[in-house]
Symmetry: C2
Subunit: 131 residues, 2 copies
């Protein structure tokens, strides 16, 4: 199957599929004319990658996940470990964002937000303590 069909079936853009090949995640066969030819296993990998990326795993994580996926003698603990580490990173990110959010909320609440120039938000950014 051609790349555009693989794109449709996997849910990935054509550009992304070529990129994944470039960085060695997949390796479809080539036809006589140079066209890439995707078989069922290739399509499975692409779909796998689409799901994994959608869950926020980095490309390098995906590389490891794919190799575990291919390795029939893998230990599920390895996969679980990777997933847990990923969740930890997500939690950290959520924490940072919530912290930012609460700071911003306070600043926004303290700003009357009318046509006057006086603005506690800018004052804070400028380093003037609101006291």
């Amino acid at each position: 199957m051609n790349i555009s069909q693989a794109a449709t079936d996997s849910g990935l853009p054509v550009k992304t599929i070529r990129y994944y090949e470039e960085i060695g995640l997949i390796a479809p066969k080539r036809r006589e004319n140079g066209y890439r030819d995707y078989g069922a296993p290739d399509l499975h990998k692409l779909t796998f990658l689409q799901r994994a990326r959608g869950l926020g795993f980095s490309i390098e994580d995906c590389r490891v996940l794919l190799s575990l996926y291919e390795d029939k003698g893998r230990a599920s603990s390895d996969v679980k470990k990777l997933a847990k580490a990923h969740v930890t990173q997500i939690d950290q990110k959520i924490g940072e964002l919530q912290s930012l959010r609460s700071t911003l909320d306070q600043l926004i609440a303290s700003c009357h937000g009318d046509t006057r120039a006086d603005c506690p938000i800018l004052d804070d950014l400028a380093g003037k303590s609101v006291s």
Copy 2:
């Protein structure tokens, strides 16, 4: 004041300060020898940028915030509007991450995580419904 002192005082890396100049956020004077010379207003801007970036505002947001900061006839409502839009984006990001997190949690919980190869996480990524 030289760039390294400005870096120390503002809390920004030297590389970042030069980058901010390159994209037109600041414009320090130059000495005879070509060295950048930062005055008090420059330092205020840098500190302002450090704070704003720390609150997650994009460079382009910072550009607008800086211009509002400089504009003594600004309306505080403009600043508040920008900040609110930023919070909205943060909330959206938090929502996405929490969604990812809960999906991952379920997958992790369903994986026994021992030396066996059977792994619901990989099965899910491969598109096999757990059913």
